[in-house]
Subunit: 271 residues, 2 copies
């Protein structure tokens, strides 16, 4: 027997970008709620959100979350953190609260002790950002990391994640942040550095397959990526430094013509 | 009026891997020759090459190139270099000679002064290697770098490249090697280092899109890649060291929380 999907009287989504907009569309299409309050500072974004049926009502006022029994924070990480005091004040007692921020430690600190709160990070999204890139199927098959804060709220948020087509994975905030620094933020930094080097007088036609795929992620929205790098700066810094050491060691082995060392470098990355 | 395709009485291909096999198939299917002599050390590879119609006759003896009016060297770069004296001895006077090695400086040195020689590098190939991955359409639309040695032979080799569906790009060997170190060999090294780091206790399910695309090239055949890294070792070393410095600078900026420096890093990679 299929377990019933969660139902919410009203859901508030703070930040109607690609993820926030996709959430609103998915919640409404999957009939998990009939009322999505879209909250954003930008009136043009709110108009487009409503036109795309990513929300049923809009507000520029954070206080509007008071009417919701589920609040999803889908703004950049540092904005989420700066909004925390206002969110704490306006949140309806008994409401569930979660976020979709790309790094988790600072968000978990900002909402420590808030009843109903569970941190989250859906591992999806594309290079394109904004409400125009919203897609109700964005979460299909995605891994959605959940970082437990209020243990009583975890099963309900996990049920929501599954109802959106994604697959919950419970992790500690620090483990999550270390992992995404490596699998996501460092590849982005590499793609940027590679593009920058390649522009210095490289024949454009030599940009072959591996180069294109290695630099594809350099195209993601700069403001969002800056927020991600800075909000996870110590883990990204460590990942970048570890990578720098590996590449320096490889450079040294190559200069010496040390085939055995180059082979070991290959083998470590292949098993 | 379409210019006529080149015709060869007999073509010898030395090294029946993915590129060599694809060349044989393309030459025969496009009727640029009726006779392809497949040369390889491995009898099993030769049997498969013939079965896949990548050649019409086979030999394990380099001396078999003496019967060809076009010889294509499709072995790993360091093998090509080590075969150079034997190739020089066996080559028929008046024959054209070219190669498909992934780095060019050492090959150009090895065949300096050989009449009919032009260096080459088709910018294609996939992570899969070997005759089983041969595909007569591999060269369709690809950029094929040509490094002139005998200027009289260049137009004929360029015509061959176009007849195979690719697009010739004439470059100096050193410019080529510097470029491919950056666009191809460095991304491979990064993918290896990233995979190696990620294996150290990372939740497997966190391997999202950007990670998968950043590590895809780590799967290419190890022996071939080792040859490529070593044959182009000074340029790859320099590219790796430049990248290491960039990543170290980024790490420093992140540790300091220097948003302006991180923004500059982004901007350099985005324009």
């Amino acid at each position: 027997m299929k377990r019933s999907s969660p139902r919410f009287k009203a859901v508030a989504i703070v930040g109607m970008g690609q993820i926030g907009g996709s959430l609103g569309m998915a919640l409404l299409r999957r009939r998990l709620t009939r009322c999505v309050i879209g909250i954003d500072r930008d009136p043009a974004v709110l108009r487009r959100s409503k036109a795309r049926r990513a929300c049923t009502s809009t507000s520029r006022d954070l206080g509007a979350i008071a009417g919701a029994d589920l609040v999803i924070l889908a703004a950049p990480v540092r904005s989420i953190v700066s909004m925390a005091p206002a969110i704490r004040r306006a949140l309806k007692p008994g409401a569930l609260l979660t976020d979709v921020g790309s790094s988790k430690s600072s968000v978990m600190r900002a909402f420590r002790g808030v009843p109903g709160f569970v941190g989250g990070h859906p591992m999806c999204g594309t290079e394109r950002g904004g409400i125009q890139a919203a897609d109700p199927r964005l979460f299909d098959g995605a891994t959605w990391v959940l970082v437990p804060a209020d243990p009583a709220a975890l099963p309900e948020i996990a049920r929501l994640v599954r109802a959106l087509g994604a697959s919950p994975l419970t992790l500690d905030a620090d483990d999550h942040d270390r992992a995404v620094a490596l699998v996501s933020h460092l590849p982005y930094a590499f793609a940027l550095a590679l593009s920058a080097s390649a522009r210095k007088g490289l024949p454009a036609r030599l940009a072959a397959g591996s180069f294109r795929s290695a630099t594809r992620v350099a195209a993601q929205p700069a403001a969002m990526s800056l927020d991600i790098l800075l909000s996870n700066r110590f883990h990204v810094a460590r990942a970048a430094e570890t990578m720098a050491s590996s590449l320096r060691a490889l450079g040294k082995a190559l200069r010496k013509g040390d085939a055995a060392a180059v082979k070991r470098f290959q083998k470590a990355g292949q098993r």
